[in-house]
Symmetry: C2
Subunit: 649 residues, 2 copies
């Protein structure tokens, strides 16, 4: 298996460093730096280091967030905000992953209230990815490749409004350049001659887990941009003199300008810098997720030492960072995780069936594919952040008689390549789609990453079975069924966060097409639940209902769009109320599907119906906050159900 | 208004030339050419011209199909099939629009049964865009930009199977190169070193309606491909010697090869060649759709004369083309069209509201935007075939306070930019999406163009109202409401084919949020209908039901996902059966939405339910054939409803 891998699921897990005190610099520290008489370069160098420490603080406190690219971009972002941006200018990051770094700068400058730094990824704090409801955020980002398109929209609107001044700076990642939309957007942008658009590529060489060059090499990036008609320049993204020169200059004829800024991922803390990776080290450790205690302490020490040295030279007195004790996250006991189970399941599938092929879109850690890649390298394709390309490849691999299994986060997998999945369905050939990070949790990354539309998208694909396992055991059954038994394409929806279990839920093992399993019996109503998180809430809800004299039957089923209606008829009996409960938009999801099917089969006569799930744009926050926001805690579910139980309709 | 425009809606209308006899060359004619002793070039030249005539025949008979790109690519395709392709090689067109030309070649060579040429776009004939169920089709195309991704999938599968020989030739359009997926797919392809992949760009300079350079200029195409690591060459795509040399040669190191073939759209018939367009002529007339009678006759004459001249020189006796009388299409009388009504509506909206902006993705004719562009050029953006880019631009235009209206065919608009639409919804700002060609008709283009998933996609967008007008009057109301009254984004679903009307349907004018209008009253059941085509069928169905003693209430409503439930409760009264009827997949569409909402509101108690619509992959065929295939004719609907009416559940 080669080197020992720590599976740090980037977006999935709230892992904090909170059993030690954390620390941050106050706004005063930043103000002191800004108000000194030193040169812009001297000031910005310290400012950026202060911002690094605060970004680290925010991520450690939140338990997740993107450290590597916050650090790689912070010299650029600091220079822009301190020395370039005028009131009429706009800056945003197209990738948006680097928001902790951006927030550190913006909070230091009073663009966002300073206190917000304590609330990264919390419901009343700062969203995991930029959102227009935060001051200073011009547009929502987090979904990759949209930045230049958005800039063109802004500039077009400006022209209509008669606004002709103000520059627009857009930061992009380098992994992000694998998205087709990015190149799509460059073409008509190249016609612009207003000298207002500058794109800066934060070329930190590492995408999610590993080197860009080994995922999907960018080739001659300068030649690419030039061939698309852009003005291209390149510099060291940590060299302020070079940044100053390139950011202030404009292209000769006013065409859009791209600056390829060579940066170091994790810049500012020696052991986090990607350049310190050993030659044989495949995976970069600080892309996202909070650092461990030791790493946190060492990083703080290094940053503070460096800041003090710089301050000493400039004769600045910068107050020490402020220590703060954080309440540790409560970690539940009976938790289980699906992704490791999936890792095992796909290994087993591949061992017993040599037609199995796996495709990944730059999320090999999060989708659990490292063991597969190591054991079956010839049956693995790393496609990079290129979901459309990945899905169309899978389609012809299937036509050739193989069984491709396609992986990404559910939010991307089922939406970016929607037309490509349909094209695959239209031509036959079995493709298995596995979407992790499904549902409204984790709540920290925000709506770009919260997959609550994936069922809707997949329901509209002809000949597609949708499965949402209830526990790790059922992950194995679902994949085995998809590979060995299903005659059509299959979408498997996986929960990525650790979830709590009850004994009943952990024992569910039935896997018969169209049928679920009753994990509790009661005469007043049935709750049909999908997925582990809300099934657990349903079990607790049933207890609350029982305390109120209402007895629930709880049916859990992995079959989102396949129902054995004669079986369901028997199970339903005379229950007067059916509640569906899904970790997905109720507008169009499992609940709609069940209700429509039951209505067509005459199963709703003399029964009341209540479809519960996510009813609005997902909130960003801690997992508990997000469940509460959407009314999905046991208490809120129970009161909703009681109201329905007592109602006339 | 400049020159007189003929609105030839490319995919929407079955307009045939069938009141004059048509003609085609038999297989024997092709065989004679192939079996002669002349040079490959001499033979292929005549063969390609015979194929052009047969392609013209197929399109004229079908009443639609892509003439311009069939003709521009036919020298390449003929040369490939006659002189290059070996049994282990594969060829397919990524754009797929040029299928009539391809079929002409394949039928001449016996790859597909020759008789199939009489059935282009018919249910048992040849699909409008390539489909794997046709012999010789390797993959489904018609959705743009997927060709290279698919090639990589084939080559990967070959490697696993131990197949290392056989070349893969993929033809692309030039407009197609605007799709992001194309550039996305080039990156990892550039790693290949097996010498097996050749892409040929049919660079005919014209996309749907006009010059590529004026839609979204491709820039230095050679430099672009080279910067993406491909081996690039370029030639005249009608010069057989050049084609021979480039198609037979390989790149030095086995990397993928792209041949930019400069071609003439409409090549082979002088007045159809784009090079014959007048300098001031903006729109090319022969992209798609059957030619008019005069054009047809002149084209045949030119082709036959040229063939005879060539045959005379080679001393070949080629039989004259076979004349065939075709039954004229029956054109219904009371037809109406929505797109012209929409053209007028958006003009009115823009005249009264200077915030209105229109964006188009290379379908300006089909989406009815020519008058808008002419009157409001500064408020119009032609985005090219770049739907993701278009939608993200619209998002920031909306954030800046304008009202962008985004246009394409429904099948593309709601799927290719699915993630971008969601991103727009997440950041607020009202964007209006207008999808034409919605539903299963026209049936000719095939499943890539039949939008039966668009409602499902849009139902999963937060804060999105979906409207499907019932007639031209309601198109105006819907757009006016969307622009002036709606607080959230709106999707308007338009029928592009001319549709029949009853007096009742043509008089529908009510437009109150969440409410529809009853156009017939009866006590046995209610049919809730969406859109003009199926509402017309429903009216006829009601007559048949009445003949069987069953009296129907028919409710037509443009509100797909907004229901005034108290109003609906009143209308429903004691009707014991509710039928929903939609021009969309029933798995997830208007029917599911209505049933779920009615169930939650207690409106289904003591009522039977039947959700009708499209239940499987749309069939390709004439409109009547397709309706019948999906059980959507009045007779079939009536028998389905009678069965439900009599059933227990």
């Amino acid at each position: 298996m080669g080197e020992q891998i720590t599976y740090s699921l980037s977006e999935a897990i709230e892992e904090s460093t909170t059993d030690i005190p954390l620390c941050y610099f106050t706004k005063e520290a930043f103000d002191i730096v800004r108000e000194t008489e030193n040169t812009a370069i001297q000031k910005t160098k310290i400012f950026a280091q202060l911002a690094r420490l605060n970004a680290l603080y925010m991520i450690a406190k939140a338990g997740s967030g993107h450290l590597g690219s916050s650090f790689s971009s912070l010299d650029i972002v600091s220079w822009l905000y301190l020395n370039v941006l005028k009131s009429e200018d706009r800056y945003y990051s197209s990738k948006g992953h680097d928001s902790p770094g951006l927030y550190a700068v913006q909070s230091a400058l009073g663009i966002i209230p300073f206190d917000k730094i304590h609330g990264l990824r919390r419901i009343d704090g700062l969203p995991g990815h930029p959102d227009v409801n935060t001051p200073g955020a011009h547009t929502n980002t987090g979904s990759l490749g949209m930045g230049v398109s958005k800039a063109k929209g802004f500039l077009f609107a400006d022209d209509l409004s008669g606004k002709h001044d103000g520059r627009l700076f857009v930061l992009t990642g380098d992994g992000e350049l694998q998205e087709g939309q990015f190149w799509e957007s460059l073409v008509t942008a190249s016609r612009l001659r207003n000298g207002r658009l500058t794109v800066i590529v934060d070329h930190n060489k590492i995408q999610s887990d590993t080197y860009v060059r080994s995922v999907s090499d960018l080739g001659d990036l300068e030649a690419k941009f030039a061939s698309f008609g852009w003005d291209v320049s390149r510099c060291d993204g940590h060299d302020y003199e070079a940044l100053e020169q390139l950011l202030n200059s404009q292209s000769k004829d006013g065409r859009p300008k791209v600056i390829i800024a060579d940066t170091i991922k994790g810049k500012g803390v020696s052991f986090m810098e990607h350049t310190s990776m050993k030659p044989e080290q495949e995976f970069y450790k600080y892309h996202s997720g909070a650092p461990g205690q030791d790493d946190y302490k060492s990083a703080i020490q290094e940053l503070v030492t460096d800041i003090n040295e710089k301050a000493f030279i400039l004769k600045l007195k910068i107050p020490n960072p402020t220590d703060i004790n954080i309440e540790p996250l409560t970690i539940s006991k009976n938790t289980e995780r699906m992704v490791p189970a999936y890792s095992e399941a796909i290994l087993n599938a591949a061992r017993s069936n040599n037609k199995v092929v796996a495709l990944d879109a730059d999320l090999i850690l999060d989708t659990g594919l490292i063991p597969f890649k190591e054991e079956f390298p010839e049956r693995f394709i790393e496609c990079g952040i290129a979901e459309q390309d990945m899905v169309s490849q899978a389609g012809t691999i299937a036509l050739a008689g193989y069984i491709p299994i396609v992986h990404s986060f559910a939010c991307f997998l089922t939406t970016r390549p929607s037309e490509q999945i349909y094209n695959n369905c239209s031509q036959g050939g079995k493709v298995i789609y596995v979407g992790s990070l499904a549902g409204v949790l984790p709540g920290g990354p925000g709506h770009s990453h919260q997959a609550v539309r994936d069922i809707a998208g997949m329901l509209s694909m002809p000949n597609m079975t949708i499965l949402e396992p209830i526990n790790a055991k059922q992950v194995a059954s679902a994949l085995s069924w998809a590979v060995n038994d299903s005659n059509e394409s299959v979408y498997i929806r996986l929960t990525s966060i650790p979830y709590e279990q009850t004994t009943e839920l952990s024992q569910v093992s039935k896997f018969i097409p169209g049928q679920g399993e009753c994990v509790r019996k009661g005469d007043d109503l049935m709750i049909i639940c999908f997925g582990p998180i809300l099934s657990f809430q349903a079990m607790q809800t049933a207890e609350i209902l029982a305390d109120n004299g209402i007895e629930s039957t709880i049916l859990v089923t992995p079959w989102i769009n396949r129902i054995d209606t004669s079986w369901l008829r028997r199970i339903l009996g005379n229950l007067p109320l059916v509640v569906t409960l899904e970790n997905h938009f109720t507008e169009s999801g499992a609940g709609s599907y069940y209700v429509k099917s039951m209505a067509n089969s005459g199963l709703l006569k003399n029964r009341k119906v209540l479809t519960l799930g996510v009813d609005e744009l997902p909130a960003c926050g801690s997992n508990d906050e997000v469940l509460a926001f959407h009314g999905l805690t046991a208490n809120m579910l129970a009161s909703n159900i009681i109201e329905k139980h007592l109602s006339q309709s």
